[in-house]
Amino acid sequence: MVTAEINPPKHACPENIKRQAEFIACYVDALNITDCSTAVVRLSSIAAGFHILSCGVEPIIQMTCRDRNRIAMQSDLLGAYSLGIRNILCLSGDHQKFGNHPTAKNVYDLDSIQFIYYLNRLQTEKVFFSGEPIKEKEKVPHFFIGAVINPFADPREFQVIRLEKKIRAGAKFIQTQCIFDLEGFADFMEQAEWRGLLQKTYILAGVAPLKNYRVAQYMQNNVPGIVVPDKVINQLQRAAYPAQEGIAICVEQIKRIREMKGIQGIHIMAMGWVEAIPEIVSRAGLYPRQK
């Protein structure tokens, strides 16, 4: 399984996102669409998902707990399903402090694990989050529910407990935060195996191609929860062709991650560098994709 992540535009025109979707369509199995990531206002992930669906690409829409209470969440879930969206990634969401509306009020009515739990319950027991039965049982949505995990966030030892909680709550697939520290990730996967979690969910390992050392530094310093080791930053700084080096590092990482037990797929967070995706997928030996 190969997925990639794209950000919808900061305006109301879908052409660019459709072009991006068409450009990488044959290199990925699904496209993951962010929900106002880093709390910057963008075209809604549901609408963007609908647009790329019209290009024949399978969307995974992200939905955060930051901007919606449980009423808005369910309403948007029903709406998204009615538009043909079938995959959802449930997150807590970056704090609004990072975005372009830092004076906004946040919601966090539910946390991400509660969100997953109640959505899964809605689908299996056919009840709203409140427990009220849904009358027309054959018309409830059936999303493929995903969650994220950051093996590198503090408290580190808690992250595998989080993974277990998310799986028990109903996460059928897991997408990890960008991995640069392979040893740290191997360690995390070992703990997951020890807890018997690897058979219970699909784990997609997150990778990100770094265009140059400045991008790497920016991510290390400004993106919550991302750890870019100095070794990688130095390697990019020394490279004669940093972009090529960034792609090479990413390809190498994918190869090594795929050797680990329990990895079901790769999730590429291109961070605006969508052009790199075809080369990465091909060089990592993941092309052509079977449809």
Binding site: C65, R66, R70, S92, G93, D94, H95, K97, F98, N106, Y108, D109, L110, D111, S112, I113, Q114, Y117, Y118, F129, V148, I149, N150, A153, D154, P155, E157, F158, Q159, I161, R162, E164, K165, R168, A169, Q177, P224, G225, V227
Partner: protein, 226 residues
């Protein structure tokens, strides 16, 4: 640690502009929480009064200020002594917390009440000069589940089932000066040998018991008079 409602005075320029049109004001402080947090007790009331008088002298627009410090501005019986001072003036400036300011407005409906204080949070002070938020007044305490550390208010996202994935070096993703509440909770639960509790699912919170259910009232039949 003293637990209190913590408030901080508005900038003097803002207070001055709020009272610019008036020639006489009554400045009211409180000997409760705002005295403890050094923003609205007797000393602060006198300092602010002196500063405002001076400012207005410089502007050639003299200001008469009466001062009063209530024992507890959140209990109307302590405001009785204030009645005589309120004659012949239109404005009360409050250095009490937001609660006290409203009791002042209740008692003197014909006066214009101006807050000179920003009421911030329920917290305490472990270190002189530093106050920290500790309780979000959620109406349904769950501290027994989180090792005595409040995730509702000390976690920037009110996460109830563990950390958000943004913490680094034990600090919160939104403020490197602030401990991640879940790091603290984890440390404490580990110490207590209760990490298995954190693996349990914590259901959605009933926010109707917090401010989201509308203004709250506590009625204690056992202590009602009559």
């Amino acid at each position: 640690m003293k637990k209190i409602i913590v408030a901080e005075q508005k900038p003097i320029s803002e207070i001055a502009s709020l009272i610019y049109d008036y020639e006489k004001i009554l400045l009211v402080g409180c000997a409760g929480c705002v005295a403890v947090c050094l923003s609205g007790g007797e000393k602060e009331v006198e300092i602010l009064a002196a500063a405002l008088r001076l400012l207005r002298q410089q502007q050639n627009k003299p200001l008469e200020i009466l001062t009063f410090v209530a024992t507890r501005a959140c209990a109307p019986e302590y405001l009785v002594d204030l009645d005589p001072l309120t004659k012949n003036l239109a404005v009360i400036v409050s250095l009490t917390c937001g609660v006290g300011a409203q009791y002042l407005a209740d008692r003197y409906p014909e006066k214009w009440v101006i807050p000179a204080q920003d009421t911030k949070f329920a917290g305490g002070s472990g270190e002189h000069g530093i106050w920290e938020e500790r309780c979000g007044l959620c109406g349904d305490c769950i501290l027994h589940y989180t090792g005595g550390i409040c995730p509702i208010i000390r976690c920037a996202k009110s996460m109830l089932n563990g950390p958000c994935g943004g913490a680094q070096n034990g600090k919160c993703e939104i403020n490197t000066e602030m401990d991640c509440a879940w790091q603290l909770i984890y440390n404490r639960m580990k110490l207590l040998n209760k990490l298995d509790k954190l693996a349990e699912f914590q259901p959605a919170k009933d926010w109707s018991l917090a401010r989201h259910g509308g203004p709250r009232k506590v009625i204690r039949k056992d202590v009602l008079i009559k």
